[in-house]
């Protein structure tokens, strides 16, 4: 099945889940999730705490294996073709305690650029591009631990963008940002990354406003199942119930 999907990578959905379930011991977190995300769109993933949103992102980013079912990114099976999937995906985890606190912002991102295959010169050039894209104007040579919460959050997003991935998996990327910066990120996602660069974004958020402002489609996960799919401007009955 993986080979067939690989051949059709250019026309296939950017993200495809077929009956994906995930259990941790006896606790079933995802229950038979089917999902297709078209290339160049932004899909919001909402749901209460523990609904399975982060688990779904971690399966797509290859950090977790599904218990059953299959998940594909541009036709590549996340379980059997993890190397290819990693080259297509940029993952922005929730929170920013995923850096080396005593290294500078630049050193941190240069390290992750090298892990993504950049040479020193190319990595620094890409870093400049990403900082420009995010509007980062703080001192990039300051230790990561000394940066503001907003700057740290932008660096997490910046790291996901480093390898110029086709698919972005974002777990609450604006959680710690002030309203103005939040709007800047929304514009970046909507206008620059999706409309301009044709990226595909799966955005986990707890903010209905963010989902409605930014997303083409909103999916509500409830108790490990997809409970509702709406257009960005439609109401979110499940969450409001």
């Amino acid at each position: 099945m993986g080979g067939r999907y690989a051949q059709r990578a250019m026309t296939d959905p950017a993200i495809l889940l077929r009956n994906v379930s995930k259990s941790f011991a006896a606790h079933e977190v995802l229950r038979g999730v089917d999902l297709e995300v078209a290339p160049g769109t932004i899909v919001g993933l909402l749901g209460r705490n523990g609904a399975g949103k982060t688990t779904l992102l971690e399966i797509l980013s290859t950090l977790l294996l599904p218990t059953s079912g299959q998940a594909f990114v541009h036709g590549h099976d996340v379980a059997t073709e993890a190397t290819q999937v990693k080259q297509l995906v940029g993952y922005c985890p929730c929170g920013f305690d995923t850096f080396y606190p005593r290294l500078s912002a630049a050193s941190n991102l240069e390290f992750f650029a090298a892990l993504n295959g950049f040479s020193l010169r190319d990595g620094r050039q890409r870093l400049d591009e990403v900082f420009d894209l995010l509007g980062v104007n703080g001192n990039r040579h300051l230790d990561f631990q000394r940066h503001s919460t907003g700057m740290k959050q932008k660096l997490v997003l910046g790291r996901a963008l480093l390898a110029d991935p086709r698919v972005l998996l974002l777990d609450e990327p604006t959680k710690s940002l002030d309203p103005r910066t939040q709007r800047e990120i929304w514009t970046l996602l909507r206008t620059t990354l999706v409309a301009g660069l044709k990226k595909t974004v799966l955005l986990v958020t707890h903010s209905e406003l963010e989902a409605q402002e930014v997303c083409d489609r909103i999916i509500v996960l409830e108790d490990g199942r997809i409970a509702e799919v709406t257009r960005g401007v439609e109401s979110l009955g499940v969450l409001q119930a």
């Binding site: 977790l64 990693k86 993504n116 295959g117």
Partner: protein, 262 residues
Amino acid sequence: MAWKAWAFFKRDLLVDLSYKLSFALEAVHILIAIAAFFFLSRLLDARTLQGYDSFAFVLVGLAVNAYMTTCLICFTQVVRDSQVSGTLKAVLVTPTSPRQFLAFSSLYPLSRAAVDAAVYGAGGLAFGLSLARVNPVPAILLFVGSMLAFSSIGMISATFIVMFKRGDPLLWLFGSGSWLLGGVMYPTDVLPQWLRPLAEFLPITHALRGLRAALLADASLGTVVTELGVLALFAAVGLPASVAIFEFGLRRARMTGTLGHQ
């Protein structure tokens, strides 16, 4: 690939440099240990230590035990620190394979272990150790061979950390067994007859036997070929096995969802 390896080395160097005092404290710690064993060696009879000067005998034992300990714990430390800092997941979502992560993360600690071994040598010189009978080629080959052999055990113990987070019995068993039976502080022939065969299953026994001969008795490559062969065998079997075991552990953690658990 080389740039990626350098990126790991540079990361660890920069983090280490941010704790400037640790370098100085480690050197002082080594020098104090050398001084203590220098004075203790005055009480020992050189004839009981396989014909080597007792201070030189113990100094080589301490140096090898120190870098063996680094080889054993650096992999578990890398994994544990990455789990606690949250960087393990961030690294593993990049196109960096688990074996690259493990191998490249060990470069800096192993380099520091080599520097520490050199500090032991320099400290020994200050206390009158003679380098007149050093044969560098077999010494370097034995040093590299023993590092690879010790590292294979270290990588297996890193799998315990991935799977169980703490409580690595292998590290404890191997470290304690090597200290007790490997001939670090005394020759293995002072052990009871029934314990001596056990010592032969430990790479440190062969590393110490070969290195003492190459560093203190000008032994030729031919003289230490058995020790080199045993260490090469440990490495040839242990390294691929330990990488396979580590990858199995990671896959299991991806299944159980415990990859980043603290």
